[in-house]
C-alpha cells in the first residue's frame, strides 16, 4: 500500500509493543521499531506472542503491511484500515476472525484482548475474534496479564463511559485454561464480540471522588483440579474482605482441563491435558459511577501453593488496588487514556491515583501519545481532599471512524 506519509516514527525496544502498534493503527502513522531484544543471546527478536499479535492486526485491518528483519529485532509496520471481521483474508471464516496462538505463547489472552478492544470501536464492521490454539491462557499469568474474567468484569465496563454500548460487547469463554507446564501455552478458547462501533468516542469526566467500595464480586476458577479449591480460595478471600465490606460474593467456576495435541511422533492423534490450575479474580465496585477496582492472582504453573494463599493474596492485591485510589486502576488506565486521546476533540478529565500515574506504562503511554501527535496531558493535584490523587486532563485528537475511512 502506498503510504500517504512515509516518514516512520522510530521506537526502540519491545516494551509497550501492542500500545505502539495500536496507536500507529489508530493514527495511521507508520512505525519502525528496532532493537527488539537485540541484547538477548538466547531469544533475540520478536517473541511468539508478538508475532501472533501482528497476525491478528493483519487479519482485522485492510492494507496494513509488516516487515520483520531476519533476526526479528527490527520491525516496520505500515497501518491499514481497521475493517473488523468482514475480511476474507487469512484465517477468516464467516464473520469470525480466528486467531491461533502458538504453543510457545507465555502471555495470557488478555494481552491480546486489551489492545484489540481499543481498536474495535474504531473499526468499520463489528469485530468478532476467536482466540484458539494451544497458546490461549485465559487465567491470569505470572507475566502480569489479567484473566479474561477481569477483562470482562473490570475493563469492558469502562467502555460504556465512552458511549460505547455495553450490551453489544461480549467476551465468551468457551474453554478455560490456566498456563501450561513451564508457564507456556494453554488450550483455551475465547471469543470477543465487539459489536458497538462509534464515529467518535466521547471523552469522559471522571474527576470526582472515587467514592467508597460498596460491593465486591469475583470469579474463582479451577481447570482440571479439584473444585474444592474454588471454595477454599473464596473462603480465604472472604476472610480478609468480609470485615471491610459485607457484600462480598464470588462465583465459582470449575472446568475440565483442555485437551491439546500431545505432539507425539509415534501417535500423531494423541491428546493430552494441559493448562491445569486455579486462580481468583476480584472486582470492587464503588458507589461512584463506573469506578471498578480489580485484582487477579492465579496459581503458578509449577504449582506448590495452596488455594488459601491465592485467595488471601488476591484479596490483599484488591485492597492495594483500592488504596492506590483514583477512578481508574493501573490495569484500566491505558485503555481509558488512549480512548480519551483518540476520541472527540474535547478535554476530558480523569482522576488517577498517584501511584497509578507514576507507573512506567502510563508514563511511556504519555510519551508515545505525544510522539504520535496527540497533545500533552495536563496534570494537576486533586485538591479537594487529602487523597493525593492526580487529575489528568487529556485532549482528544478526533480520530474517528470517518477519518479511518478517508485515510
Amino acid at each position: 500500500m502506498a503510504t500517504p506519509n512515509p516518514e516512520f516514527l522510530r521506537f526502540t525496544g519491545h516494551e509497550s509493543f501492542t500500545q505502539r502498534l495500536v496507536l500507529s493503527t489508530l493514527t495511521g502513522r507508520p512505525i519502525h521499531i528496532s532493537q527488539i531484544r537485540s541484547s538477548s543471546p538466547t531469544h533475540p527478536g520478536l517473541a511468539p506472542h508478538e508475532i501472533s499479535f501482528l497476525r491478528l492486526l493483519d487479519s482485522i485491518t485492510n492494507g496494513s503491511s509488516v516487515q520483520i528483519s531476519y533476526t526479528g529485532t527490527t520491525l516496520t509496520y505500515i497501518p491499514g484500515l481497521i475493517t473488523g471481521s468482514v475480511t476474507t483474508g487469512l484465517g477468516a471464516t464467516g464473520d469470525v476472525v480466528k486467531c491461533a496462538l502458538p504453543e510457545t505463547c507465555r502471555r495470557g489472552v488478555s494481552w491480546f484482548l486489551l489492545p484489540l478492544s481499543i481498536l474495535a470501536p474504531f473499526s468499520k464492521a463489528p469485530v468478532n475474534v476467536r482466540f484458539e490454539g494451544e497458546g490461549v491462557i485465559t487465567s491470569a499469568t505470572e507475566t502480569g496479564d489479567i484473566s479474561v474474567d477481569s477483562v470482562r468484569t473490570a475493563i469492558l465496563p469502562l467502555y460504556e463511559q465512552f458511549s460505547i454500548l455495553g450490551a453489544k460487547l461480549e467476551l465468551r469463554v468457551l474453554q478455560r485454561s490456566c498456563a501450561g507446564p513451564g508457564g507456556k501455552g494453554g488450550g483455551g478458547v475465547v471469543e470477543l464480540k465487539f459489536g458497538s462501533q462509534v464515529r467518535l468516542p466521547k471523552t469522559l469526566h471522571m474527576n470526582r471522588s472515587p467514592g467508597r467500595v460498596k460491593r465486591i464480586r469475583g470469579v474463582a476458577y479451577c481447570t482440571g483440579v479439584s473444585a474444592s479449591n474454588n471454595a477454599r480460595m473464596i473462603h480465604a478471600a472472604r476472610g480478609v474482605l468480609n470485615p471491610l465490606v459485607a457484600d462480598v460474593h464470588v462465583a465459582a467456576q470449575y472446568d475440565q482441563a483442555p485437551l491439546v495435541s500431545s505432539h507425539d511422533k509415534t501417535n500423531p492423534s494423541g491428546k493430552k491435558r494441559t493448562g491445569v490450575g486455579f486462580g481468583l479474580s476480584l472486582i470492587a465496585e464503588s458507589n461512584a459511577d463506573g469506578v471498578i477496582y480489580s485484582a487477579d492472582v492465579a496459581a503458578p504453573s509449577q504449582g506448590g501453593v495452596t488455594p488459601e494463599d491465592i485467595g488471601k493474596k488476591c484479596a490483599f492485591q484488591l485492597l492495594e488496588c483500592i488504596s492506590q485510589g483514583g477512578c481508574v486502576t493501573r490495569i484500566g488506565a491505558p485503555t481509558v487514556l488512549t480512548l480519551m486521546a483518540m476520541g472527540s476533540e474535547d478535554v476530558g478529565r480523569v482522576r488517577l491515583g498517584r501511584d497509578v500515574v507514576g507507573t512506567e506504562e502510563i508514563i511511556s503511554l504519555g510519551r508515545d501519545l505525544k510522539k504520535f501527535g496527540a497533545s500533552s496531558w495536563g496534570i494537576r493535584d486533586a485538591e479537594d481532599d487529602g487523597t493525593g490523587d492526580i487529575i489528568v486532563s487529556v485532549k482528544g485528537i478526533g480520530v474517528g471512524n470517518v477519518g479511518r475511512k478517508v485515510a
Binding site: 467502555y159 461480549e170 467476551l171 464480586r217 471454595a231 473462603h235 462465583a251
Partner: protein, 293 residues
C-alpha cells in the same frame, strides 16, 4: 411478675460484668460494698480455707434482699468457670464450604454471562405503563396503586417462580403468567389449550386431570388439609337450550322441507291438560309456547 423477674435478671447479669471489672482493677475498693453474703464468706474463710474466687452477684447489692434467690442461682452458675484452669487450647476448624454464601441466582447469571456485568443496581421490578420504574419510596396514590397491582400479581403468580428450571418470569413462565391474567380478566379458554387433538388423547388428558385432582383432594382429606372448595361441574345443557341456527324453527326439527314435531313438542305446545293434571297446582311445566289455559 415473672416477666419483671426475668428482666431484672438480665440487667443484673450485665451489671455483674462491669462490677467484676471494677473489682479486678481495684480490689481494695469493694470493702464499702459489703453485703450479707460477703460477710458470710469472710466468716467462712476465716474458719476454713479460702473459697475460690467466686464472682459475686452484685444484683443483690443494688436490689436488696428481694432479689436474693436470683443472686444465689447466679453464683452457682458462675462457679463453673474457675480461675485456676489452665489456658484454653483453641482449635480453629475452618470449614470452607459452610462460609460460601452463594450469589443470588439471578445475579450469578448476570455476572457470569458473557456480557460485561452491569455496574448499576438492578432496577425496581415495578414499572408503570411507559416502562419507567417506580422508586421504592414513592408514596403517591398512583404509585401505591401500582405497587398494589404488582403485589397482587406476585401473589397470584408466585407459584410459577418455584420451578427449579426457570425461577424468573421469563420465557415459558411469562406465557403462563399472561394466561393467568387473561383468565382472571374473564377469558374463557387458556392460551395453552390445544384446540384440535384426537378424541382419545383428549379423553386421556381429561381423565388424567380429574384423577390427579381426585388424588390431591383425597390425600389432603386424609392428611386433614383443607383445600379450596371443589368447583361445581357445569350442568349438562338440556336439548331445549341448545343453540339453534338463525332462521331455524324454534320448535321441532326441520329436515327435508318438513317440520317434524315430536310428541314432546306437541305436548309442550298443547300445555297441560286440565282434566288429567288435576292434582297439579296449575303450574305450567315446560317451556313451550302453548297458550296458557
Amino acid at each position: 411478675m415473672t416477666a419483671t423477674l426475668g428482666k431484672r435478671k438480665r440487667s443484673a447479669a450485665v451489671v455483674s460484668k462491669s462490677e467484676e471489672d471494677q473489682r479486678s482493677s481495684s480490689p481494695g475498693s469493694d470493702s464499702s460494698l459489703l453485703d450479707a453474703q460477703e460477710i458470710f464468706r469472710r466468716h467462712f474463710e476465716s474458719q476454713f480455707k479460702p473459697l475460690p474466687v467466686v464472682q459475686k452477684a452484685p444484683a443483690a447489692i443494688e436490689d436488696g434482699p428481694d432479689n436474693l434467690s436470683d443472686a444465689n442461682s447466679e453464683s452457682e452458675w458462675d462457679g463453673i468457670s474457675e480461675a485456676g484452669e489452665g489456658a484454653v487450647e483453641v482449635i480453629e476448624h475452618s470449614d470452607a464450604q459452610s462460609h460460601m454464601a452463594a450469589m443470588p441466582k439471578e445475579e450469578l447469571k448476570a455476572f457470569m454471562s458473557s456480557k460485561p456485568p452491569k455496574s448499576t443496581p438492578t432496577p425496581s421490578l415495578i414499572r408503570d405503563k411507559a416502562g419507567i420504574s417506580i422508586a421504592d419510596d414513592d408514596d403517591s396514590e398512583t404509585a401505591n396503586l401500582k405497587k398494589d397491582l404488582a403485589l397482587q400479581r406476585l401473589l397470584a403468580e408466585s407459584h410459577l417462580l418455584e420451578s427449579a428450571s426457570n425461577p424468573t418470569l421469563t420465557g415459558k413462565n411469562r406465557h403462563k403468567a399472561t394466561d393467568l391474567r387473561m383468565q382472571a380478566l374473564g377469558s374463557k379458554t387458556s392460551i395453552f389449550k390445544q384446540e384440535k387433538m384426537p378424541m382419545s388423547h383428549r379423553k386421556g388428558i381429561i381423565s388424567k386431570q380429574s384423577e390427579r385432582e381426585e388424588t390431591r383432594r383425597r390425600e389432603a382429606r386424609e392428611n386433614g388439609i383443607i383445600l379450596e372448595r371443589a368447583k361445581m361441574k357445569p350442568k349438562k345443557n338440556s336439548i331445549g337450550q341448545r343453540d339453534r341456527g338463525v332462521g331455524a324453527p324454534s320448535v321441532g326439527k326441520f329436515t327435508g322441507g318438513t317440520l317434524t314435531l315430536s310428541k314432546k313438542d306437541i305436548s309442550d305446545i298443547e300445555g297441560p291438560q286440565r282434566g288429567v293434571n288435576s292434582r297439579g297446582g296449575g303450574r305450567v311445566r315446560g317451556r313451550g309456547r302453548g297458550k296458557r289455559p
